[in-house]
């Protein structure tokens, strides 16, 4: 069953993410793909995540597809203008990739090439608009295409943002622009997520709640201080601090969060950030 079918049939969809390596040695990348095969509905390949130069998402998606894993092509607007972005959308389709997550992208100074020229010719909303146009047989210049692609378009949202209203406004715009599903930024507070979904569900589009596996209490504190829209509550930080087996505890917490939030959303998106080997255990523990 494809991701599109899973979402359409109301199955609780599960997706995960892999960040390609900085280089051409894809051994570990393919191992992670193998681990996730058959356990999740699709795997996102990040696009120069955190503005750190790496192997491209398109190549990563093709490699996964070859292995029989359904990919989600993440695209940001930081590095490429509308000409390149539209072209890459066509390229992805021709290579058999249909799931696209349209993102604005972290700024260049957050990564390891801070001297690079930021692009942001488009943003997540206009990228969705562009993809929609291509589906209808035209590009942004209004020119007719020779053959048009068909995508499953996704976008992201940050339920933990404060204020959250701008996120909801933009979420509405993304749906209008063509977003058919959402994967959220990680949220560790089920009550907050519930309140967010009260509003978000009105859009009638499936939402997959984001889960980031906690490596340690220090990682949680780091994210609280540095990562926008993520807040790990003190109780969870304490749990990690006091746990003897951090790996086991992080799996337990992730599974618990999924269970506490699964009734108000349509799936989960697990971001392991280097701990991809734990994802099957998380799914086992969550009964998925």
């Amino acid at each position: 069953m494809s991701l599109r079918e899973a979402l359409k049939n109301g199955k609780f969809a599960v997706t995960a993410e892999i960040g390609p390596a900085k280089g051409v040695d894809v051994t570990e990348f393919l191992e992670n793909g193998e681990l996730l095969k058959g356990r999740v509905d699709a795997v996102n390949i990040t696009d120069q995540q955190s503005a750190v130069m790496r192997l491209g998402s398109l190549a990563g998606c093709c490699l996964l597809k070859e292995k029989g894993v359904e990919p989600v092509f993440q695209m940001t607007c930081r590095d490429r203008n509308r000409i390149a972005l539209q072209s890459d959308l066509l390229s992805a389709y021709v290579l058999g990739i249909e799931n696209v997550l349209c993102l604005t992208g972290d700024y260049v100074t957050l990564g390891d090439h801070p001297q690079a020229k930021p692009v942001f010719d488009l943003d997540s909303v206009s990228l969705l608009q562009a993809a929609r146009e291509l589906e209808q047989g035209r590009d942004l210049a209004g020119k007719e295409l020779k053959g048009s692609p068909k995508f499953l378009l996704g976008a992201c949202v940050t339920p933990g943002a404060d204020p959250v209203e701008p996120q909801l406004i933009k979420m509405r715009k993304k749906v209008k622009a063509g977003a058919e599903f959402f994967q959220t930024q990680a949220i560790y507070e089920p009550k907050k997520f519930e309140a967010f979904m009260q509003e978000a569900k009105k859009l009638g589009v499936p939402v997959l709640v984001g889960i980031v596996l906690l490596r340690s209490a220090a990682m949680a504190r780091f994210m609280n201080k540095n990562v926008a829209g993520i807040h790990v509550p003190d109780e969870l930080i304490e749990e990690m601090d006091e746990a003897e087996n951090k790996a086991q505890k992080s799996i337990e917490i992730a599974a618990r969060l999924i269970n506490e939030m699964k009734d108000v959303c349509q799936g989960a998106h697990i971001m392991a950030i280097g701990l991809e080997s734990r994802v099957p255990a998380v799914l086992d523990a969550a009964g998925l």
Partner: protein, 227 residues
């Protein structure tokens, strides 16, 4: 005012490699206030270059270098010194370097970096910034420019990077531009404007039209043609 800062001296020396005789041009415009191109800085540069074994064939400090007609007129008395030099070192903003380079027959080296002030500032200088994009979207944002207030220049903001109303880039100094836009529209009771779906921005409008590529200092231009 345009803000300039002196380049690191080793960088300037790098430009002058293989050259022995330098003519220095200073500027009493903005560069005077910035302490980058006034007479004291010119003399200091002269001394440093001489310490490095260079010869300064002469120097000239002009009222302001941002008009090439004026530069040409003021450099006339120094024609021989400039002819004797291998190159000129211009101590002012990028405008002055370009203007001087246009009216001399030697290589012009920039001694300064021109600091980006985030957009045009209006004639009576407030905190507002304008990118002169030629396609104003202020109607959509309650009067706050998304190109200058948002680091990424997003037409559909905010992004997911803002934390506590601060930008993900240099949060200590930058506010999230789209947070400001949201607050402004909320205050005006016009959040509907934030739901608008504008087409992607037409960046080709940021190129100036032909008529505006020349100057308006026509009087000086007439003088210049006579010289």
């Amino acid at each position: 005012m345009i803000v300039s800062e002196l380049k690191p001296f080793p960088e300037i020396l790098g430009y002058l490699e293989g050259e022995n005789r330098i003519f220095i041009v200073g500027c009493k415009g903005c560069a005077e206030v910035c302490h980058t191109g006034d007479e004291p800085q010119v003399l200091e540069m002269k001394e440093k270059l001489e310490q490095e074994g260079k010869t300064v064939s002469g120097y000239c400090v002009i009222d302001f270098l941002c008009d090439k007609a004026l530069v040409k007129i003021r450099l006339l008395p120094h024609e021989a010194d400039i002819e004797a030099a291998d190159s000129l070192l211009i101590m002012t903003c990028g405008i002055g370097v370009q203007a001087t380079a246009a009216v001399v027959n030697k290589i012009s080296h920039p001694a300064c970096n021109t600091i980006n002030l985030g957009g045009a500032r209006g004639e009576w200088r407030g905190s507002e910034r304008c990118r002169e994009c030629g396609d104003c979207v202020l109607d959509l944002t309650g009067g706050i420019c998304p190109l200058t207030a948002c680091t990424k220049g997003l037409i559909n903001g905010p992004c997911g990077g803002a934390k506590d109303g601060r930008c993900e880039v240099e949060p200590e100094v930058r506010e999230c531009g789209w947070h400001l836009i949201y607050e402004r529209l909320k205050k005006l009771g016009r959040l509907d404007k934030m739901e608008a779906m504008p087409p992607p921005k037409d960046y080709s409008k940021m190129q100036p039209p032909k008529e505006l590529r020349s100057t308006i200092m026509w009087a000086l231009e007439q003088e210049e043609t006579k010289v």
